[in-house]
């Protein structure tokens, strides 16, 4: 069974970059859903089963940090892993995000193998294409 993923970023080009990186990582990805901010992401999450979320921090309407907080407060979404994909490199900010419930952090610019590593760590390696 393949992964269903959600990419939340206000930048269309970043959503395309993440989509491409995930495909190049050799992951068995089925459906890819996209959202332009945290609010839209939450709406998708409440409608569709998502295996893993890749979210930016800085988004209009609802940030990635707020998205994680809302998901943690919802028992049906609390266990869905969220990976923050951001340009922010401050260790203090990364620690703050992980403390709020984000499961991993990828810094832009990223490489496809970083996605594979994160997905293997969070969801297990069994669904990765050889």
């Amino acid at each position: 069974m393949s992964y269903t993923i959600l990419i939340a970023d206000d930048s269309a080009i970043v959503r395309a970059m993440v989509k491409k990186a995930v495909a190049m990582a050799g992951l068995d990805v089925g459906q890819v859903h996209e959202a332009g901010n945290g609010k839209e992401a939450l709406a998708v999450l409440r409608r569709i089963w998502i295996d893993i979320v890749f979210a930016d921090i800085n988004m209009p309407e609802m940030t990635g940090t707020e998205l994680v907080r809302h998901m943690k407060a919802d028992p049906t979404l609390a266990s869905t892993p969220v990976v923050i994909v951001s340009s922010e490199q401050s260790q203090a900010r990364i620690d703050e995000l992980k403390a709020s419930g984000a499961r991993a952090y990828l810094t832009k610019p990223f490489r496809p193998e970083q996605f594979r590593e994160v997905v293997e760590n969070l969801l297990g390696a069994k669904r990765v294409k050889s």
């Binding site: 395309a16 800085n58 610019p109």
Partner: protein, 162 residues
């Protein structure tokens, strides 16, 4: 570790990000060629214990190449169309993440804002560049110019005289 706000620091962050993210190899120049045609300007503010703004500028004609390179696609590809401005904004976002940490240290107490991107006339951009506290101009392999400038608006300016 913190560093002084300087053109060298900006050149390092710009050159590195352009290489890593967009496969563009550029070198700093003290004799920048004039912009031909309009310029795409991206601005991004950061705020917290330190606040300020960064500005990235490229020729409008170069933005499509940057968008294609970010996606690893041929220029003019369907998924690239319309992403030109977005690409310049996103590159500045990546540069800003590096500059803030280089300036204020690995625990930089600042958050990055959203990039704002606009097309301006070359003269308008040159005036904005002249007011920056630090700036670098680089030229890529085909002679196209890329500017990065920075201003610190509150908190101590790293490297400034007391």
């Amino acid at each position: 570790m913190t560093n002084d706000l300087s053109s060298d620091l900006l050149a390092q962050a710009l050159g590195r990000t352009m290489e890593d993210a967009a496969f563009v190899f550029a070198e700093a120049t003290s004799e920048p060629p004039p912009f031909e045609g309009d310029v795409i300007e991206a601005r991004l503010a950061y705020a917290g214990a330190h606040a300020g703004e960064l500005l990235l500028a490229t020729p409008a004609s170069f933005a499509a190449t940057l968008a294609a390179n970010l996606l690893g696609e041929e220029e003019g590809g369907a998924s690239v169309t319309g992403d030109d401005l977005d690409a310049v904004g996103e590159l500045l976002n990546m540069i800003a993440g590096k500059v803030v940490v280089d300036l204020f240290g690995p625990d930089a107490p600042c958050k990055l804002g959203l990039p704002r991107v606009q097309r301006v006339r070359a003269e308008q951009h040159e005036r904005a560049l002249a007011t920056a506290q630090a700036a670098t101009t680089m030229v890529e392999e085909e002679g196209r110019r890329i500017d990065l400038s920075a201003s610190v608006t509150s908190g101590k300016v790293p490297g400034a005289a007391p």
